[in-house]
Symmetry: C2
Subunit: 342 residues, 2 copies
Amino acid sequence: MRITIKDIAKRTGVSHSTVSRALGGNTLISEATTDCIRKVAQEMGYQPSAAARSLKTNQTKVIGVIVNSIDDPFFSEILFGIEDAAQQAGYSLFIAASQYDLIREQNIVQTMMEQRTDGVIICSSSFSADKGRQLLANGFPVVVVNYKANENFNYSIYHDDVDGSQQLTRHLLALGHKKIAYLGNSKSGRTSLDRLNGFKKEMRKAGVKINPAYIFEVEGSEPELGKDGLHYFMNLPDRPTAIMCFNDMLAIGFLHACQQACIRVPEDLSVTGFDNITLSAYTSPPLSTLDQPKYSIGNEAAQLLLELLGNKIENSNNTHKEKVLKGSLLVRNSTSAPLQNE
Amino acid sequence: MRITIKDIAKRTGVSHSTVSRALGGNTLISEATTDCIRKVAQEMGYQPSAAARSLKTNQTKVIGVIVNSIDDPFFSEILFGIEDAAQQAGYSLFIAASQYDLIREQNIVQTMMEQRTDGVIICSSSFSADKGRQLLANGFPVVVVNYKANENFNYSIYHDDVDGSQQLTRHLLALGHKKIAYLGNSKSGRTSLDRLNGFKKEMRKAGVKINPAYIFEVEGSEPELGKDGLHYFMNLPDRPTAIMCFNDMLAIGFLHACQQACIRVPEDLSVTGFDNITLSAYTSPPLSTLDQPKYSIGNEAAQLLLELLGNKIENSNNTHKEKVLKGSLLVRNSTSAPLQNE
DNA sequence: TGTCTTTCTGCACACGTGTGCAATAATTAT
DNA sequence: ATAATTATTGCACACGTGTGCAGAAAGACA
């Protein structure tokens, strides 16, 4: 049987309450007994029961994190940022991946509620608003990350996708491109829309018209879908000279498709990504992209949540807090000036 | 305040024991009252407290998973395999990343023990054996994945790296290569060693001698290190015609370095990876590699652990169980016959 | 010496759930 | 109608921890 504070109490000849206080660092207990108890606890290999503790204190010191998919390298960096902040404050992470699956989503919410997670960070842009509201309704503090249904949530951290997209567009315009196209991801909702809007905004600003045929969406951001995108754009009577991909994963697939089709990048076609995942530096050619401050985004989200946990009053209030972080343009070799004769 | 079974009891006019039994599906309770209680529980939005439950039942229905790093795409597929098996059996996952950091490792073990995880799956090849033993000593069922200090653990699932490496070597030999080199990862311990041994074994079998200078190790498998590997091999007086990289990440960096150095793959140099991560299909050229059955590995590991949880007797026993899975060769375009004049 | 602080510790209850046992109600057998 | 059986429910305790309150011990002061 696993040993408890009662066992320590028996061994040291004090009551279990004294043990509880001593281990908790309560100054009421004399230094002598505290030291003794601590030593015995150490010797016996005592491990407190999180379950019993949280049952009594009504807090678990665990925060739940919901992501789309674990194997998306984009999320993993956000997780680092969250983890660092959480660990520093003595919190552990309960990570769950929704996998774009409604049943899984329901299970996750169910589990988080039963586990009495102290709070939840939703990093899944596709996570259904219903489920999120369910958490809120049950009194869970919720912080959303890069989730654009902000009207539903009071606390959010997100990246300024409109600005990021504008930076990329500006870069392409400066290189001399006019026939710029956007390859979006219909599954990604607002995120894809914002990036599209940034593109449109900057083009309007520069007074360059966008060919309506230059806006195309695929259903997801798996690299495989890049091929569909390329196929579409190359079959247009008037081909674009630059493609802005929704994100790096898609861009990587797109670059690969270019290579298979013997389309030279950046000579024949400039390509950009979005996010700056690790592997985007190793594509051929290395991808020009927008570097999202992923770590900071995660870190800020965790800090905001921790703040909410500190003063629980705020949460019931109708206070509203959001933070917008901007990324920075990262020029590598997948972009260059268009050929003269185009 | 959150509602409990007592609230439901008050509302339905029965005792809380009856509610507990009804919700638990105990057949002692009449169908009528069970239905009634279930309905009321639903209406009131009752969510059982995992903490209270596990305090009483002495099981948490949570299994801990320790990985090296979340952003390694290799682990994420293993996680899928684990998750599917776990979820089907009503278990949730508590995932933690050690990040090759000793302090983090200690924290993880601490947390798992306090949370009273029902069992632990260690997927981190670098995880210190001490910490693993600590878990065992505290009565946690442990299954290790691709962890080669098997002498310490009774239950393990792993991939046959020796065989995999032999398959790759055989492939290169069949293409006509004789000057084959191995780029290892010193941080990866036995895994890298097994792959090296498979290489040696197959070469011996074919009666081809290995130039001792053709075995080189870097400290890690970040793509960036591929450059160091290339630099080393290209400075040899007698260059190899094929390089077997420890894994895909390293191979991706290696390919990138080749491109920068204007070395054509596979014409000038054949390159292989190991693991078959998603992005290995999108490199330039697409990488020939060994497809590890990652999902199956994870799935089998979870099933083994679940089996252990079923009959706890086995665990105290000195029974020993291990399962070895084999991968399959995946030929893409980074390998070809060596040039005639070499 | 007695009283009043101050310092320290134990008693008893609580958190939300599960379960053995006894008690009650309903049904059947005699 | 009574006894015996079965079906259904409640009582009371337990899991491991934390905490208000009272009580004991020790020292300070009159």
